[in-house]
C-alpha cells in the first residue's frame, strides 16, 4: 500500500469542521471517488470532526490518500487529548449521547466507512481512524 499524500489540519472550532468537510471532499474527488462515496466519507468526517471539537476539546485531523493496486482510498485520523471515552461499546451504541445529540455520529460514521477504529483512554484523549476505498 502506498501513501500518495499526507496532510494535517487543525480542529478547534465549528468553522474548522466546515473546512474539514471541504478538504475531505477535495481529497475524495482527487482520489476518483464516486459522488456517493464522496458524500459518505464527507458525512462520516463531519461526525467525527464535530465530536473532536465538542467532546474532545479540539484536536487535529490527518488526511492520507492511499493506493493499493487499482484501488484508491482516503484515510482520516482524528485525534484529541480531551477527556476520552470510558465505555466505548456504550458510546458506539445507536442513540447514546451525553451531549443532547442524536447519538448516531460514531455508529453512523462506522456504517459509512470501510474501516473504522477507535482508541480512547479516559483522561488522555481519543483517536478515531476511518477509511473508505473506491
Amino acid at each position: 500500500m502506498q501513501i500518495e499524500s499526507d496532510d494535517r489540519m487543525p480542529l478547534r472550532t465549528s468553522d474548522d469542521v466546515v473546512r474539514v468537510r471541504q478538504a475531505v471532499r477535495a481529497r475524495a474527488v482527487a482520489s476518483g471517488f464516486s459522488l456517493v462515496d464522496q458524500t459518505k466519507i464527507v458525512t462520516a468526517a463531519s461526525e467525527i470532526a464535530r465530536n473532536t471539537v465538542d467532546y474532545g476539546g479540539g484536536g487535529e485531523l490527518r488526511i492520507e490518500a492511499l493506493r493499493n493496486g487499482q484501488r484508491r482510498g482516503v484515510r482520516l485520523t482524528f485525534s484529541d487529548s480531551g477527556p476520552g471515552i470510558r465505555d466505548i461499546d456504550q458510546a458506539m451504541r445507536d442513540g447514546y449521547t451525553t451531549g443532547n445529540g442524536l447519538g448516531l455520529g460514531l455508529s453512523g460514521a462506522k456504517r459509512l466507512c470501510n474501516e473504522f477504529d477507535i482508541k480512547s483512554t479516559a483522561g488522555s484523549g481519543t483517536t478515531v481512524t476511518i477509511a473508505r476505498w473506491t
Binding site: 487543525p10 466546515v18 473546512r19 458525512t43 445507536d94 448516531l104 456504517r111
Partner: protein, 291 residues
C-alpha cells in the same frame, strides 16, 4: 552601504542553501499542522522570501520596514497571512514562518563574528529587531484578514436570514442553501415559524437541494424545525433529497419522520392536492389574448 547591511547580505549570499535548509527544518519542528503539500508551498515561499530579503537589504534601512524598499517583502507576508488566516491557522502558527528565521540567521552570525563579540551582539540585536518587525507586520495582516472574513460571513448571514417564500395561498417554501450551522439554522427556523404565524399557512416545503452534507447535526435542526412548525399548525414536506444524500441518511440511521419528495415541484403538487386545489391541463390551449 554600511557595514551592517553588508554582513546579513553577505551571509545570505554565501550560505543561502544552508540557511534555507535550516530555516525550513525549524519551521517543520514548530509546525503542528502541514503535510507534503504545505511543506512544498512553505519551501517555495521561504525561497522567495530570502531572495526578496537579499534584494531589499541591499538598498533599504533595517529600521523601517514601512518604506518602499520593503514593499515586495510586505506583499509576500500579506499573501502568507491571508492564506493562513483563511485556512484557519492561529496567529502564532502564521507568524512562526518569520520568527523561525532567527535561529538559523543567528547561528550564521555567531560563526561569522566569532572573534568580535561586541559586533556580534550589535548585529544580532539589529537582525532580531528586523525579524520582529516583519513578524509583527505578519500578525497585523492576519488580524485584518480575519476581520474581513468575519464581516463577510455576517453579511452572508443577513442576506440568507429570510429566504421564506409563499408559493401559493397557504403554502410556504424554505429553500435551504449552504452550510447549516447552528447560528444560521436558528435564524432560518425562527423566520419560517414567523411566516407561518403571519400567513396562517398550513403547509411548509423545506427544500434541501442546496445543502451539501446532511449529518446528524443538520438532521437534528431539521427535526426540530419540523416539529415546531407542526406545533404552529403547519405540516412540512421535505424536498430535494438527492440520491447520494438519501443513501447517507439511511447509513447514518437517521429517521426524519416527514413526508418527502424528490423535487420542489413534486412537493408543491402534493401540497396543492392536500389543500384541495388542483392544477389541470386545459382541453384546448388558450388562444392568445383570450382570458
Amino acid at each position: 552601504m554600511s557595514d551592517r547591511e553588508n554582513i546579513i547580505l553577505r551571509l545570505i549570499d554565501r550560505h543561502s542553501q544552508r540557511l534555507l535548509r535550516d530555516w525550513l527544518a525549524y519551521q517543520q519542528r514548530e509546525a503542528k499542522y502541514g503535510g507534503t503539500q504545505r511543506e512544498a508551498e512553505t519551501a517555495e515561499l521561504a525561497r522567495r522570501f530570502l531572495d526578496q530579503l537579499r534584494a531589499s537589504a541591499r538598498i533599504a534601512q533595517f529600521e523601517d520596514v514601512e518604506t518602499i524598499e520593503w514593499r515586495p517583502i510586505r506583499e509576500l507576508l500579506e499573501d502568507l497571512s491571508r492564506d493562513r488566516a483563511v485556512q484557519g491557522f492561529s496567529p502564532t502558527e502564521t507568524a512562526t514562518f518569520i520568527f523561525s528565521l532567527k535561529e538559523p540567521l543567528f547561528a550564521l552570525l555567531r560563526e561569522e563574528l566569532r572573534d568580535d563579540t561586541e559586533r556580534l551582539v550589535r548585529e544580532t540585536s539589529t537582525t532580531s529587531r528586523l525579524i520582529d518587525r516583519l513578524g509583527l507586520y505578519t500578525i497585523e495582516c492576519y488580524a485584518r484578514t480575519r476581520e474581513e472574513v468575519i464581516r463577510r460571513q455576517q453579511q452572508e448571514l443577513l442576506e440568507l436570514s429570510t429566504p421564506v417564500v409563499e408559493l401559493w395561498d397557504g403554502i410556504l417554501a424554505l429553500p435551504l442553501i449552504g452550510t447549516l450551522d447552528s447560528a444560521r439554522t436558528q435564524i432560518v427556523m425562527e423566520s419560517l415559524l414567523q411566516h407561518i404565524v403571519n400567513s396562517g399557512a398550513e403547509i411548509a416545503i423545506i427544500d434541501i437541494t442546496g445543502v451539501p452534507t446532511v449529518d446528524t447535526l443538520v438532521a437534528q435542526h431539521l427535526i426540530k424545525t419540523i416539529s415546531a412548525a407542526r406545533l404552529m399548525g403547519a405540516d412540512c414536506i421535505l424536498s430535494g433529497i438527492r440520491p447520494q444524500i438519501a443513501q447517507t441518511i439511511v447509513h447514518l440511521g437517521l429517521e426524519l419522520n416527514v413526508v418527502s419528495k424528490a423535487t420542489m415541484a413534486d412537493a408543491l403538487a402534493l401540497a396543492l392536492r392536500r389543500s384541495g386545489k388542483a392544477i389541470t391541463e386545459r382541453k384546448q390551449p388558450a388562444a392568445p389574448g383570450s382570458s
